[in-house]
């Protein structure tokens, strides 16, 4: 058996030599864990806090201020908006700008003083059940915490029972079923994973196998090569989408868009997202020196797509710097679009910003990829 030791050593040394030559892989092995630990360690918070909320008061007294103060004291929500109308509040919730909307009815103070135990309405966006639970945790303390001073000062009847009630609505997903949240999100992750990885090798493979030389000696231009290489994958992406959505419907009863406008919005989002992923993969393949590197770069891209996009954790619960990073990632916008269209009846007008962001991403990344494509070997 001792005879095999030199041979093992030979292979081992060869492997180390090759590893050392491959600088990027080397860097990835060292840099990636450090970066990931820093980014995700600080960004991920299983107990989301400071979720955005809105308080709409139809009551003329200062009761709203007290409610706002009580909500913010919990640390779970930040009241960022004070809408003036039901429509305004509804739009804030539908577009995902707030996780929680509180409505105080017109005669709230009067009935409170009379001891009639009036109600206020708390609407949470339960399309993300985890975030909704956080927001509703803030609401649950309202009856005991809010208006304590007012009640004492105004000499309202003192009783142990709360002076008012909170009616909770879990909108978009009343039963808080997590598949409604996760499965549409998975569509984004699946599309990214397959499309980015498949196209990340498009150019690298040709270069590695030497076929690039033939391809470049033909009259085909870089733009023609890029469009020709990517178009088949658009079809792949569309097929994947249909399969995933079909299974979401059949196996998990995930709701689908209910109006043609909703489907149109969804379709726009899907097409932009697919093209964005393909462009990114193509850009990677012009950067990578080998297929292995292309693979690593794709993996490197997937992690923030999972953790900072709102797929694994509520986006609004991330710290502000992580949200800035998240806004750069197409999956973030796609998740809002697909969840918006499927669960929240969003139409094009509701998702303008996200579609714009995806459009910009496509332009920037496809432009960069094309800029890096050469007609020559040098």
């Amino acid at each position: 058996m001792t005879g095999s030791l030199p041979r093992i050593l030979a292979v081992l040394l060869k492997e180390f030599t090759q590893l050392r030559r491959d600088r990027i892989t080397y860097a990835m092995i060292l840099v990636m864990p450090v970066m990931q630990l820093l980014i995700f360690g600080y960004a991920i918070n299983m107990d989301p806090r400071h979720l955005p909320a809105a308080v709409l008061s139809h009551d003329t007294s200062t009761v709203a201020d007290s409610v706002v103060a009580a909500l913010e004291r919990t640390g779970y929500v930040d009241v960022r908006y004070l809408p003036r109308s039901d429509e305004e509040l509804d739009q804030l919730i539908r577009r995902g700008q707030v996780m929680l909307g509180i409505t105080i009815p017109p005669d709230f103070t009067r009935r409170l003083l009379k001891g009639e135990r009036p109600q206020i309405l708390a609407e949470a966006d339960a399309s993300d059940p985890q975030a909704a639970a956080g927001a509703l945790a803030a609401v649950s303390v309202l009856p005991t915490e809010a208006l304590r001073h007012e009640r004492l000062g105004l000499g309202a009847p003192r009783s142990t029972a709360p002076a008012f009630e909170v009616v909770v609505h879990r909108r978009y997903n009343p039963e808080s079923r997590s598949p409604f949240h996760i499965v549409p999100g998975l569509l984004g992750i699946i599309l990214s994973m397959t499309l980015v990885m498949m196209t990340a090798m498009a150019v690298t493979r040709e270069r590695e196998r030497g076929t690039m030389e033939t391809l470049l000696s033909t009259p085909a231009t870089p733009a023609e090569i890029m469009v020709g290489k990517l178009t088949p994958y658009v079809v792949v992406g569309l097929v994947q989408t249909v399969v995933v959505l079909g299974m979401a419907r059949v196996l998990f009863s995930v709701p689908m868009a209910r109006t043609p406008a909703g489907w149109l919005a969804l379709a726009c989002g899907i097409v932009l997202f697919i093209v964005g992923n393909l462009s990114l993969g193509y850009l990677i393949s012009t950067l990578a020196r080998s297929q292995l590197q292309a693979m690593q770069m794709s993996m490197f891209y997937m992690l923030p797509s999972i953790f900072l996009s709102g797929f694994a954790f509520p986006f609004l619960g991330l710290p502000p710097w992580a949200r800035v990073l998240g806004e750069i990632i197409p999956v973030t916008h796609f998740l809002r679009i697909v969840r918006g269209a499927l669960l929240k009846d969003q139409v094009l007008a509701d998702m303008g910003n996200d579609l714009l962001a995806l459009g910009l991403f496509v332009l920037a990344v496809a432009g960069a990829a094309l800029g890096r494509s050469r007609t020559t070997l040098d």
Binding site: L216, S217, T218, L377
Partner: protein, 308 residues
Amino acid sequence: MNARAIDVRGLNKSFGDRHVVRDVSIAVDTGRITGFLGPNGSGKTTTLRLLCGLLTPDSGEGTVLGMDFRARGDAIKRQTGYMTQKFSLYEDMTLEENLAFVARVHGLDNRRERVEDTLHRLGLFDRRQQLAGALSGGWKQRLALAAATLHQPRLLLLDEPTAGVDPKARREFWDEIHTLAAEGLTVLVSTHYMDEAERCHDIGYILYGRLIARGTADAIIRDSGLVTFLGEGPGIDRAAHLLARADGVLSASAFGAAVHVSGLKREALEAALVPWRKEPFRWSEVPPSLEDVFIQLMGRERDERYTS
């Protein structure tokens, strides 16, 4: 039409600080077959890539197929066939698919017909459904040539097209090249084989990036000023390495039971041979072969080998 298919001057190319092609000027008349010779790493592949627009030269000007070769690269590509040194068709596609791809990307009409014709001509029609990667080395070369000529280019750049091809196929290959040239195709072909060099109309010899000899094989031999003696007799081949070290001898190589001894100065060479002019050896002066000349050319530039 321009009588010169290629007419470029002052071509230079560096990779980092390695000056790989130095001041190469090359003119090739339409319909000529020019052999491109030189040792490994001398810059043949790089020069061919510069000519077909696959590499950007650092400097140089001129025309290829009558068009400014730096500005009209795209137009030149359309009329040029380039066969790479390393097989670079798609190994995971069948022969037919590869040829169909080439036909399509060049926008050819009658695609089917052309592809089938080509497959028949190559004698590969029955294997058209086979993956290109499964072909033997020589057959790959022949497929690559077919792909490079499918769009009927006016200029053909071949980079060691016959490496690993058997003698019969090589002969057919050269017959085919001559047929195409007779129809007006211009061919620039790099090779390491002397017999192939002799089948070219003329030759360019490149060494460390410089084109140091140009012309017909006869002219190059004549201009070399080389004197060559052929020694025969039992055991003479074993003397070759001793002769090679003698003053006045540029090269001495054994060919079977004979030895070729070359030098530039007749007197010095004769003097070096004196110890060997005895029985059982017989000596006679012969015209130098191309190979003798090229080996001498390599020696001439040896001092400059790593200068830039």
